[in-house]
């Protein structure tokens, strides 16, 4: 039985001539779990929004959408509200009311349910999602993960048949994102709700999905089972192959044939079966990171807490960052990593300890001097940096030197975007524009707070390229991040932040090679088979070398 039948749907926004959707045809069956993937701006969001009339954007449209055999436009809005649940990307703004219980009740209230029906539905959902403990709390006191779970619950309370999720985890940290996606999976498995989800983080949803839909330029390029999708993308040499889960990438890159493993478990089985007599690891020169001498940032025994009677957030942080390197701090959620950055850029004052920036005590920098050609920080969400009507005006706010602006815009690849409104930029473009603003202060030390949050794989790569060119200019980059895969690949030194201090720091290869849980998927997959393989490329290299030995 089909739930949605989309035939030859084309759409273009009134402001731009290009088609946002171009001849999309797709059938979604009842109870199916479908993942939509593709680069930012490929039309995923536009397509998903077409599946609910009130969210459908304005513009020119051709084609037809049937919901349970009826044209979607003919299904009454109240019925759509109950039957088609939609969870959006924005964690804060999609919550309407101030209390958790009221948010849960909002949908039923709007549909005019009576008190008794509402009570049982709300109670049931609160239990199912395990939110009875925070039932009476203020929404503003919830964490990002809790908020997104609340949004999901307040949609599920109306017992929808279809659940549509548009990049629901892009603003969450990996742990909260995993939790959220597991809940979605549970809903699909236990309630049989049809799920349509668009995601960048494919590791968690890919193994479970019935179908993967890959989009590019408003068209569906692949629509197949997850196993086949990996193979087709590899054979086509498609850019989206880089977004596939690590086991898929390793398998096909090592010229595997047929169905690939999707999970770390299956990936291990594949490697173990390939080398039943054990494997030899490729010897690799593990060198100390030794740049040219000078220290950009030195922290000694830094202690800090927000309130007089509160808990210490920083408990004796020691760190040393050599000039011109990319230093990444990884660690759990809410552990105080952002606080650490705030201490470095002088926004908070530690009550004990010493912070030196380029050999000078941070307390000796005069007001404003620190930000003038020395330290600059990119906030977690770049949108908070934008205050003007065009990107060009944003840059002009930072500097009067027109040549410098042009050079920086070129470096960040935003020359074509100068006339656009900052809010109209995609996530990746916004990040680049924000970096340009940061760079216009001529910093020697750039601080990045969760820079890869919400980025797709293609943009992560060009972002890494940007960091590399900063390093070439002698700029030191310090980032705090949850993105283990990104840090493993591109950082020079990785530090583990735990319990208020940086416990260990080392080169990524030694750091992640030594961890067993807090490490990359490629490392978890090859642990005990190959030593010190941290990235997918390492695994493939080891695999090929050992296959060569077997022959």
């Amino acid at each position: 039985m089909e739930h949605f039948k989309i035939s030859d749907l084309s759409f273009s926004y009134p402001t731009s001539g290009d088609a946002a959707l171009d001849g999309v045809s797709l059938t979604v069956n009842k109870g199916e779990f479908t993942v939509f993937c593709g680069k930012s701006g490929c039309g995923k969001t536009t397509l998903l929004r077409h599946l609910k009339t009130v969210l459908t954007p304005n513009g020119r449209r051709r084609g037809e959408i049937l919901f349970c055999g009826v044209p979607l436009g003919d299904v009454p809005e109240a019925e759509q509200a109950a039957k088609i649940g939609f969870v959006m990307q924005d964690v804060d703004d999609q919550i309407v009311t101030d209390k958790v219980w009221h948010e849960l009740a909002f949908g039923p209230e709007s549909l005019g349910w009576d008190q008794k029906r509402m009570r049982s539905a709300v109670a049931e959902m609160a239990c199912y999602f395990g939110i009875q403990d925070w039932f009476h709390r203020d929404v503003s006191t919830l964490s990002g993960g809790e908020k997104q779970l609340l949004s999901l619950a307040s949609v599920m309370v109306m017992h929808p048949e279809v659940l549509i999720l548009d990049e629901p985890t892009s603003q969450l940290d990996p742990v909260a994102a995993s939790d959220f996606l597991n809940t979605v999976r549970k809903i699909n498995a236990e309630l049989g709700t049809t799920v349509l989800i668009s995601e960048h983080r494919l590791e968690d949803v890919f193994p479970y999905a019935d179908r993967a839909v890959v989009m590019d330029g408003g068209r569906i390029t692949v629509c197949d089972t997850p196993q086949n999708t990996g193979r087709i993308l590899f054979e086509k040499g498609d850019e989206m192959f880089k977004a596939m889960p690590a086991p898929v990438r390793a398998y096909y890159s090592a010229s595997g044939k047929g169905e690939s493993p999707l999970t770390v478990r299956d990936g291990r089985a594949w490697l173990e079966n390939s080398f039943p007599n054990g494997a030899k690891s490729v010897e690799r020169e593990v060198s100390e990171y030794a740049p040219g001498g000078r220290t950009a940032l030195k922290m000694k025994e830094v202690w800090f807490r927000y309130e007089k009677d509160g808990k210490d957030v920083l408990k004796g942080v020691d760190a040393e960052v050599p000039e011109g390197c990319f230093y990444a701090v990884v660690g759990g959620n809410g552990a105080g990593k952002s606080t650490l950055l705030n201490a470095v850029c002088g926004k908070i004052r530690p009550y004990r300890g010493k912070t030196e920036i380029f050999g000078k005590d941070i307390k000796k920098y005069k007001a404003g001097e620190l930000y003038d050609g020395c330290v600059s920080m990119l906030p977690q969400d770049p949108k908070y940096l934008f205050v003007k009507k065009t990107v060009g005006a944003e840059l002009a706010e930072m500097s009067r030197d027109a040549d410098k602006i042009i050079r920086t815009a070129e470096l960040c690849g935003i020359t074509e975007l100068l006339d656009r409104h900052p809010y109209d930029l995609s996530c990746g473009e916004a990040q680049r524009a924000a970096i340009a603003k940061v760079l216009l202060t001529d910093p020697r030390l750039v601080l990045l707070d969760e820079p890869t949050k919400g980025m797709d794989s293609a943009f992560k790569e060009s972002f890494a390229e940007l960091i590399r060119s900063l390093k070439e200019r002698g700029i030191t980059v310090v980032a705090v991040s949850h993105d283990v895969e990104f840090c493993a690949r591109y950082a020079d030194i990785v530090g583990m932040f735990f319990d208020g201090a940086i416990l260990t720091s080392d080169t990524p290869r030694r750091f992640f090679g030594g961890n067993s849980f807090y490490t990359t998927a490629a490392n978890r997959m090859s642990r005990g088979i190959f030593d010190g393989a941290v990235t997918v490329e390492d695994v493939v290299e080891n695999y090929n070398a050992n296959k060569g030995l077997q022959r």
């Binding site: 809005e77 509200a81 309407v96 101030d98 209230e109 709007s110 926004k347 007001a367 706010e397 940061v438």
Partner: protein, 294 residues
């Protein structure tokens, strides 16, 4: 948060009680009634706020003195001249009248202080939810939006600080930077409200008649309490119409005597005002008894 028995009653009971207490407090100027008002509102205020109430009491005392002593400066009626101020008589009668006005003021302040603790936003929206669902949801969205905007503002300021904007620059530049930040706040909030609107409509907002989910059940206990409050209030009003609360300050002092039927009126007033206090204390006692039984 302290547990308060009266706060746990249905919001309508809380609402009716406070409206009555505040209105009566503002109207009755008879010294006995004023005393009853100050004692009962003050006790309940202490029960709700604990140690923090000392500070508020000091502040109210200052206010009381100020109003009392300032009144005779403008009001020169009365025979008992205490002294002359700027060649105008400063009379005892006016001073007493001022004190009574000040007391009325203090009583209303105290009741409003209690109101703040008992009538949370949730309760107010619940009350309106039944009568005017549209107004209620509007209130709720405002309650949600205000902290959200404050947070956004903080984030903008913090983000700009870390690129060296809005910090220690020249005053003119700081003003300009502040204006930019304010503009950004407005546009970000606008962007956010578009998403909120989508989210509301996606969940059926505006498709039909709204109902209102209530976390507060109206129990028999609430009904009984409501009847008690209404009966006492009716008695107080009836006696007031018979002149039990009559108080004249100028030119000559006259207070209605507290004998006979008038005493019953005052008693009704005291019982009414002390209801929350009695409920609170009773719960504390029964809790302590059951605790000692363990």
């Amino acid at each position: 948060m302290t547990h308060d028995a009266f706060s746990k009653c249905h919001p309508s009971v809380n609402f009716v009680f406070f409206i009555l207490a505040i209105c009566f407090g503002a109207v009755f100027q008879h010294p006995a009634y004023i005393a009853a008002g100050i004692v009962s509102s003050g006790t309940y205020y202490v029960l709700l706020n604990g140690k923090k109430s000392i500070k508020s009491f000091l502040r109210l005392l200052l206010l009381f003195c100020f109003i009392s002593f300032i009144n005779p400066v403008f009001n020169t009626r009365g025979d008992t001249v205490l002294f002359k101020l700027f060649s105008r008589p400063y009379t005892l009668e006016a001073l007493i009248y001022g004190a009574s006005i000040a007391s009325v003021f203090v009583i209303t302040m105290l009741w409003f202080g209690c109101w703040n603790k008992v009538m949370t936003g949730e309760k107010i929206t619940c009350l309106f939810g039944g009568v005017a669902p549209a107004l209620s949801i509007l209130l709720v969205t405002v309650f949600r939006m205000v902290p959200e905007m404050i947070r956004t503002a903080k984030r903008i300021v913090s983000a700009r600080l870390s690129i060296g904007k809005g910090g220690a620059e020249k005053l003119s530049e700081r003003a300009r930077s502040g204006a930019s930040a304010l503009g950004a706040l407005a546009s970000l909030s606008l962007e956010g409200s578009v998403t909120t609107g989508d989210s509301m409509r996606a969940r059926g907002y505006g498709t039909g008649k709204r109902t209102s989910f209530s976390v507060y059940g109206f129990r028999r206990r609430d009904g009984a309490l409501m009847i008690l409050v209404a009966a006492l209030a009716a008695a107080v009003i009836a006696f007031a119409f018979r002149g039990a609360t009559r108080a004249v300050f100028l030119p000559e002092r006259y207070f209605a005597p507290l004998s006979g039927a008038n005493a019953a009126g005052l008693a009704a007033y005291c019982i009414l005002l002390l209801t929350p206090t009695v409920m609170h204390i009773r719960e504390v006692i029964s809790w302590n008894i059951s605790k000692s039984a363990i």
